[in-house]
């Protein structure tokens, strides 16, 4: 059974941050979707649900999404479900069921840096920034590459730069974790090709993106970009698939996603 010694409804971000720093064994609660799965002792559970962090805001240049926004909101909100060719909607709509998505938050998902995450892969291709209470604004890419912060994630910020994007994945059943997930995007400036659930954390494959920037995107270069990415990345085994299988399907999925971007233009 889960043991929580103290339960704090944070009254502001500063209180949440100070508690996280000062109280041993304190944990920031997201949507709690995975809390059940491990027997653990939590000194102080920090609940952000009363801080008004459940929102989607259109600032004109960006879309800001509060850390406590649920995946179901991303799926159904008119803005987040339609921008960037609906890539966010596609990345969350097959995560278990409606009931889980009504609870799980984007802040908990991003903070957890889950390697199997579909939304992280999609957010990475959208050049997402994270706003932390103490560490300020950092890119999702930098956050995933590092060791994480003992900090409070306040919101995520996605640029509205006219980017065209696509998301695809292979999974054994519709609601299972992905064997491999792919998100690609094209802005006026650059391409991003992101591969996740390898089963390691999602990575932006810079070499493949640079190849497209130099050679343009068409059916032939889409296939080659997939091959470059598969050659560059490391894949591993887990119960859902072998490294060999992941390496074999990676270029195919990237090519399909890039072709979607071509047709979305």
């Amino acid at each position: 059974m889960l043991q929580i010694d103290n339960y704090l409804y944070a009254s502001d971000l500063a209180e949440a941050y100070d508690t996280l720093q000062s109280m041993p064994g304190s944990v920031v609660l997201g949507g709690c979707g995975y809390l059940r799965l491990g027997a653990r002792n939590i000194g102080t559970a920090i609940d952000l649900s009363k801080l008004g962090l459940d929102y989607v805001k259109d600032t004109g240049d960006t879309v800001e999404i509060g850390a406590m926004t649920t995946l179901r909101t991303l799926e159904t909100n008119p803005l987040t479900s339609s921008l960037w060719n609906g890539v966010l909607k596609r990345a969350v709509e097959n995560i278990v069921g409606v009931q889980l998505r009504n609870g799980v938050t984007i802040g908990g998902t991003v903070s957890g840096r889950y390697p199997f995450s579909d939304p992280i892969t999609a957010l990475l291709t959208l050049d997402t920034q994270l706003q932390f209470f103490k560490n300020g604004q950092v890119s999702l890419e930098e956050y995933l590459a590092g060791k994480g912060y003992k900090d409070i994630l306040e919101k995520i910020i996605i640029p509205q730069d006219g980017r065209a994007a696509a998301f695809t994945s292979i999974r054994k059943t519709r609601t299972d974790y992905a064997v491999l997930n792919i998100a690609v995007s094209r802005s006026a400036e650059a391409y991003r090709i992101v591969v996740g659930s390898r089963p390691g954390r999602a990575m932006n494959v810079i070499e493949a993106a640079e190849y497209l920037s130099e050679n343009g995107l068409n059916e032939a270069t889409a296939a080659e970009a997939g091959r470059i990415a598969a050659a560059r990345l490391q894949f591993g085994d887990n119960p859902r698939g072998s490294a060999e299988y992941r390496k074999a399907i990676c270029p195919v999925l990237i090519e399909r996603a890039l072709l979607e971007v071509i047709h979305a233009a």
């Binding site: 709690c32 799965l37 609940d47 179901r72 278990v96 069921g97 409606v98 009931q99 009504n102």
Partner: protein, 149 residues
């Protein structure tokens, strides 16, 4: 800890351990229509509504309920009975253990989906598992219940 909330339209003060999940609290307080299933957030048996939205009570801390209205199947007996008649007519039920959670999701879906299709129904119900029926009879019953041609 203690929490003042509303369950099935009635104000109530819940007393529970900090780490208790909602289905555990609800069952302790006599709401036995809420079932414990997989306990891992996958099967949907424990579905209840928070402010009218279906959630998994096995993955929701009771403390997180706050001032939200909790609805269990005990509050929806007439509607559930109406749906059950369609299920019976289609031979869509066997052991029945998944039925309370399944019914909670179907009734939420009826409120949420405009112009449902077989595809959108399938998608909405992906988080409810039934190991007896094979889903075909359930789909026939739901389509008739929701007036899908």
């Amino acid at each position: 800890m203690q929490l003042n909330t509303r369950i099935n339209g009635r104000s109530i003060t819940l007393d529970f351990p900090n780490g208790e999940f909602l289905y555990e609290t609800l069952r302790r307080y006599g709401y036995l229509g809420v079932k414990q299933g997989c306990d891992t957030g996958n099967c949907g048996l424990c579905t209840v509504w928070l402010n009218g939205k279906p959630v998994l009570s096995c993955s929701t801390l009771t403390a997180r309920v706050g001032e939200h209205d909790v609805t269990t199947i005990e509050a929806l007996q007439d509607e559930a009975h109406s749906f059950a008649e369609f299920m019976v007519a289609e031979g869509a039920e066997q052991c029945g253990f998944c039925s309370p959670g399944f019914t909670m999701t179907v009734l939420a879906m009826k409120r949420e989906l405009n112009n449902p299709t077989e595809e959108s129904i399938n998608h909405y119900l992906a988080g409810n598992l039934c190991r007896c029926s094979g889903y075909k009879g359930q789909m026939r019953a739901i389509k008739k219940f929701m007036g899908v041609v």
